[in-house]
Amino acid sequence: MTDAALLLDVRGLTVEYDVGRHIAPLRAVDGVSLTVAARETVGLVGESGSGKSTIGRAILGLAPIKEGNISFAGVDITHAGHRERRRLSADLQVIFQDPYSSLNPTRTIGQTLGETLRVHGETGRGEVAHRVAAMLERVGLPADAAGRYPAHFSGGQRQRIAIARALMARPRLVICDEPVSALDLSVQAQVLNLLRELQDELQLSYLFIAHDLAVVRHLSHRIIVLYRGRVMEQGEAAVVYARPAHPYTQILLEAAPLPDPDAQRRRRLRRSNRRANAAIADAENGCPFAPRCPFAIEICRSVRPRLETTSSGSLVACHRWREVHDQTEPTDTGAVTGSRS
């Protein structure tokens, strides 16, 4: 993939937060690099503290970047001021997790959606109203929703509104920060489908941030697995899911319970066979996952593993990835696996 086709290029991103006068700052993201190409969905997976949301925020200019740079369509946006952000927002948008917090309750839907257009110079009232109505219909809401306030709508509907807001400006890349985590299962499915349809229709790219591997896998072409601010594994979604090369990915996959009692029992047995070697304490220089890793050895404590390429094309940061890779059987998902290209 040539650089020209890259929509988003993040290199060596490091984000630190100050937590107090006498305490070392918290390093939320530590040297992460990733790319997103046009019409691609890249899934960013991790648990709390993994830095996945922080990466999204850093790209959007909402987090303090200590090192590294971020370019969008070839332009460096690492330290973009708010005027540049305004121009950028025509191409780069966001959908947040909490449907209750992402819409201003004192403004109508129409005002919120219209604001995006007005930011980009579209001020004709009729035109704005027309486009707002069109977008609302596209996301499956009645056109009269424009005159109502967010309180009228359920969580799933609000999330659709948030999607509408993000797409008003016809962006090229949308950062989806856990967009379905707060939704019920049936609603989640609806929203995921909507995202997928819109991607095909509007030729969007997504940076899809989530903690649920199954959700991410369903939508993504590529997956990046994060732990404590660092990339553990990265590769094509189907490959990472079926044949993880990093112990953490493995644990993550096996931790999520399967909605199938027999398969879940088998998975549990496999999990119980891998207990962590608790002797390795938390160390500054080594692999951040070492204290919890069933494969950890001495070198893991002192030397930070670099990203290496596996036989299946993934990148993995682990000293013992070969053993892990060989050991994993194709995970029992009960799903039809195919590659999404």
């Binding site: 648990e47 959007l60 200019g61 708010h82 005027r83 540049e84 952000r85 305004r86 121009r87 927002s89 948008q93 966001v94 947040f96 997790q97 917090s101 819409l103 201003n104 309750p105 004192t106 604001e115 995006t116 930011v119 306030y149 309180a151 359920s154 799933g156 019920d184 299962l185 049936s186 609603v187 989640q188 499915a189 609806q190 995921l192 997928r196 349809e197 903690h211 649920d212 199954a214 369903h218 189907a238 644990i251 993550l252 931790a255 999520a256 319970p257 399967l258 909605p259 199938d260 009692p261 027999d262 879940q264 549990r268 999990r271 799903a335 039809v336 696996t337 195919g338 590659s339 999404r340």
Partner: protein, 648 residues
């Protein structure tokens, strides 16, 4: 002076208010008779303040009135009597309202002009700005304001402007603090982040997004501040520091009346009542605004009424009774009062839990599963009440039991853990203390024994270094640890049934797996039954023996866990399982259920699910559907289950 600072202590954790919508707020406010009354009264006072000096131009300069008729009580000539110099009290009251209200306005203006921008800046920008402003506020709060004002008034004698401006400056930090604490949560709101992503300037964001949100809190404080300013203004006027005689002011009139207090006690009443009423109006208005902006539990904390005696259970199919069912729920119905009458949130819920069994209560949000779980313990939230049904635990009816009796069952026989472990423990007590308290309550042992047992419980939930954890406070724990502690506390009474309300939803998936493992082990060790309320089918598959599926307040399917996954017998269960991304094929869209879950109060007639169901027929909406039993240990509330069998 007193009310000023008391007013500033934020009363709720959410001073910005939960859902504030601009036009609805005004309408809501005007719907309260108190608010209307206060606004009307204040409008009258302001009107008088503006008009009276024009209508009665001589009063302000009147040195003395009818010296033959001093200190008279009310009469036809002088409706409110005459003062010590024979001047008409009513006239002076009306004209004096202007200086009084002007003083209030001056102070209010200064406080708002200083407090709101500083508070917004401190709250929104944080960092150094916040620190500097905070330090200034500290300083101002610690100053003896009265001294400063008195000295200023001696520099500018009889200048109300100087006095009120000084008051405003000294009171501004209080408002600043309230505005700041109202801004902080708003700043974290995601729509602010979205606005920043759109490249909107910070001043725009503060002005158009933050300010309207905190407007409610500011208006509340403005009302209270006006009351305080009036108090101070009249106090200073009482001390004859603000208004040069003979100009009338309410405070000055009281001072005048004080000199004649023995001879004519009536004189202190008119101006005093005027002041008191106006202060009251401001205060009540502030309260009304606060009520209109925040969504608070309006239900006052009251003793739970005696629950109704158990009524006859409805004619639903009883689950195949195991003779030794530990918990048996039969026809449980819970309703909430509302302006539109009583609304049912769960209807005719029946199921059983055997000893040592794990039963999953599965459903999405709004289906009533949490209400069901809480009803078992007699803790239906808010104003809800159990309308009908029975809850039999170990052959003992729990519905209708007195609070004291029920309190003995809770924790000792049936325990509860909930979704948010971080807030389910008291933040100001140590872990060990809270556990020991539970142990003492249930076992009546000594303090020392209880502490030892507490450490033992922490070991039981696999927490390393229990002695250290026992000394910690809840905010020092991670989510997973806190949940283990919550489980430990639940185990303190050695209950036979543990109700776990979404215990892993708020936890990371790896931690979730550990907690589920823990629950399974504990269950084996303690021979405890578990009622697991969840929306996650994976959890059901992992740990539950049986599953009870709920939709829109009803049970729609009941069976052992494996058969449900293999062959669901209700369209909702089937659709729900199918829409799980775990199962989904990658290159196709997920199967979804069209439509939305109906809210309580607007449940469809007949089957609650029929509007969204692919198998629905006309028969489905005609009459309420009962649970049927197509096979042994399989129940479903669907008349077309045979078609589900056919599709597999």
């Amino acid at each position: 002076m007193s009310a000023t600072e008391v007013a500033f202590a934020p009363v709720s954790d959410d001073p910005a208010g939960a859902v504030t919508e601009a036009p609805r707020f005004l309408r809501r406010l005007l719907r309260k008779p108190i608010a209307v009354a206060c606004l009307a009264y204040l409008a009258v006072v302001v009107g008088v303040a503006i008009v009276a000096p024009f209508v009665l131009p001589d009063v302000a300069g009147e040195q003395a009135g009818d010296l033959l008729a001093v200190r008279q009580g009310p009469s036809w000539n002088h409706l409110l009597g005459t003062d010590t110099l024979g001047r008409d009290v009513l006239d002076r009251l009306l004209v004096g309202s202007r200086v009084t209200m002007v003083g209030v306005a001056e102070a209010l203006f200064v406080v708002l002009a200083l407090g709101v921008p500083l508070g917004l800046a401190a709250g929104f920008f944080g960092g150094r700005v916040d620190r500097v402003v905070g330090w200034l506020a500290d300083l101002a709060f610690s100053m003896p304001a009265i001294i400063i004002i008195l000295v200023v008034l001696s520099v500018f004698p009889q200048s109300m402007l100087a006095g009120m401006v000084t008051l405003g400056v000294l009171a501004a930090p209080g408002l600043m603090r309230v505005v700041r604490s109202a801004t902080l949560p708003v700043r974290e709101e995601l729509y602010i982040a979205a606005a920043r992503v759109s490249g909107l300037s910070r001043t725009y964001i503060i002005g158009r997004h933050v300010l309207p949100r905190i407007a409610g809190a500011v208006i509340v404080q403005a009302s209270l501040l006006s009351a305080a300013a009036l108090l101070v203004q009249s106090g200073l006027a009482f001390l004859n520091l603000l208004v040069a005689p003979p100009a009338p002011s309410w405070g000055g009139m009281i001072a005048d009346a004080a000199t004649a207090i023995v001879l004519q006690p009536w004189l202190i009443w008119p101006p005093g009542v005027a002041i008191a009423l106006t202060i009251l109006a401001f205060g009540l208005l502030g309260d009304a605004v606060r009520d209109a902006t925040t969504e608070r539990w309006s239900a006052p904390v009251r003793r739970k009424k005696q629950r109704r005696a158990p009524s006859a259970a409805s004619a639903a199919v009883r689950e195949t009774t195991h003779a030794q069912a530990l918990l048996s729920i039969d026809g449980l119905t819970v309703a909430f009062p509302s302006p539109a009458g009583r609304i049912r949130v769960i209807e005719d819920v029946s199921f059983q839990i055997g000893a040592g069994e794990t039963v999953g209560l599965v459903g999405e949000s709004g289906c009533g599963k949490t209400v069901t779980a809480m009803a078992i313990l007699g803790l239906v939230p808010g104003n809800g009440e159990i309308e009908a049904g029975r809850v039999v635990f170990d052959s003992r009816e729990l519905v209708g039991l007195a609070e004291r009796e029920l309190s003995r069952v809770r924790g000792k026989e049936i325990a509860l853990i909930s979704q948010e472990p971080m807030i389910s423990l008291n933040p100001v007590f140590r872990i060990g203390w809270q556990l020991a308290e539970a142990v003492q309550r249930h076992h009546g042992v000594s303090r020392r024994a209880a502490r030892a047992r507490a450490r033992e419980l922490l070991r039981q939930v696999r927490l390393p270094q229990p002695e250290i954890v026992a000394r910690r406070y809840p905010h020092q724990l991670s989510g997973g640890m806190a949940q283990r502690v919550a489980i430990a506390r639940a185990l303190a009474g050695e209950p036979r049934l543990l109700i776990a309300d979404e215990p892993t939803t708020a936890l990371d998936v790896t931690v979730q797996a550990e907690i589920l493992d823990l629950l399974r082990e504990l269950q084996r060790e303690q021979k405890m039954a578990i009622l697991l309320v969840t929306h996650d089918w994976g959890v059901v598959a992992d740990i539950c023996d049986r599953a009870v599926v709920m939709y829109a307040g009803q049970i729609v399917e009941r069976a052992a866990s494996l058969p449900i996954f293999r062959q669901p017998l209700h369209p909702y269960t089937e659709a729900l399982l199918a829409s799980n991304p775990q199962h989904a094929p990658e290159d196709r869209l997920l199967p979804t259920i069209p439509g939305m879950v109906p809210k309580p109060g607007v449940w469809p007639t007949g089957c609650h699910f029929h509007p969204r169901c692919t198998y629905a027929t006309a028969a489905c909406r005609q009459r309420p559907i009962l649970l049927e039993q197509p096979a042994a240990d399989r129940e479903t509330r669907c008349i077309h289950y045979d078609r589900l069998l056919a599709t597999r």
